[in-house]
């Protein structure tokens, strides 16, 4: 048996094994990808209302976006919303020193 035919024999045996091995690996990978694709992309249907949508009960927005500039919230809505600070010291003209604290 010449050296060339030995190499050919080895290669063909390797390819044969590699083919089945490759098919096995590919099948596993496809399974992993399919499992990954089944993960939900966003909030679940039973998730609470997002911050910028009206809450299911009560009518008042959960966290309505605070207007950058505009009418006072107190006068617009009749009363202060429960979870929006009316004054933000860190955004005032003279922010207190603690606003710059970084951990």
């Amino acid at each position: 048996m010449s050296g060339r035919s030995v190499v050919r024999l080895l290669c063909s045996a390797w390819f044969g094994r590699a083919f089945f091995g490759g098919a096995l690996i590919a099948a596993s990978l496809i399974f992993v990808v399919a499992a990954g694709a089944q993960q939900p992309d966003g909030p679940k249907p039973d998730a609470p209302a997002p911050a910028d949508t009206p809450a299911s009960a009560g009518g008042a927005p959960a966290t309505a976006p605070a207007p950058a500039s505009g009418p006072d919230l107190k006068t617009t809505l009749g009363r202060a919303p429960k979870d929006i600070p009316l004054v933000d010291p860190c955004k005032s003209t003279h922010p207190p020193s603690y606003c710059n604290v970084k951990d």
């Binding site: 690996i25 992993v32 990808v33 694709a37 979870d83 009316l86």
Partner: protein
């Protein structure tokens, strides 16, 4: 003729199969890894969203609303102190807001919540960008209102309210997934 053709056909088939194997392997491994990391990432986002749901739960919303309502009740005083740049006065006002047990408990609950949240993000069990999008703003609001009190306590106990500060300082990171 057929005897000489047979090995050549077999060789060709073997070569085609080997190419297929190589292509499948080369493409399959990155695609598989991408799928694996995507699923891991989705789990991290879900975990962060669970924290957000906790924040929106009745208990924490009650605490948060209590602190905001107390703050809003003194909005005029705060504005006046800010106009005068009276930081000591603002600190005293904030301390007076936190005199009641109810307010102290509410703040403690929120501090603990943000400590847990940041711990999750820090250990890469939660997603940084999801935490940035969902929880940075509330942390910012709490610190903006009660920051003077929190920094005073931190002078004696540097680990206090670290979560609020860290979540407040979160920045969006680039991600392939």
């Amino acid at each position: 003729m057929s005897k000489t053709d047979q090995p050549s056909r077999s060789d060709r088939l073997s070569r085609v199969l080997s190419y297929l194997v190589a292509i499948t392997t080369i493409l399959g491994i990155p695609v598989g890894l991408y799928g694996y990391y995507s699923s891991q990432q989705a789990n991290r986002v879900n975990r962060t969203f669970d924290f957000y749901k906790d924040f929106r739960s009745d208990t924490l919303q009650k605490d948060f609303s209590l602190l905001v309502e107390q703050w809003n009740a003194k909005a005029t005083d705060v504005e006046a102190l800010l106009e005068k740049n009276d930081q000591a006065g603002l600190g005293q006002l904030v301390s007076s807001l936190l005199q009641s047990d109810e307010a102290q408990t509410a703040l403690t609950q929120l501090v603990l919540f943000f400590d847990e949240t940041y711990s999750c993000v820090d250990k890469a069990l939660c997603d940084n960008n999801a935490a940035f999008a969902l929880l940075k703003n509330p942390a910012d609001q709490i610190f903006s209102m009660y920051g003077s009190y929190l920094t005073t306590v931190r002078q004696h106990n540097p680990n206090y309210a670290t979560g609020i500060l860290k979540v407040r300082a979160l920045a969006k990171t680039w991600s392939l997934l």
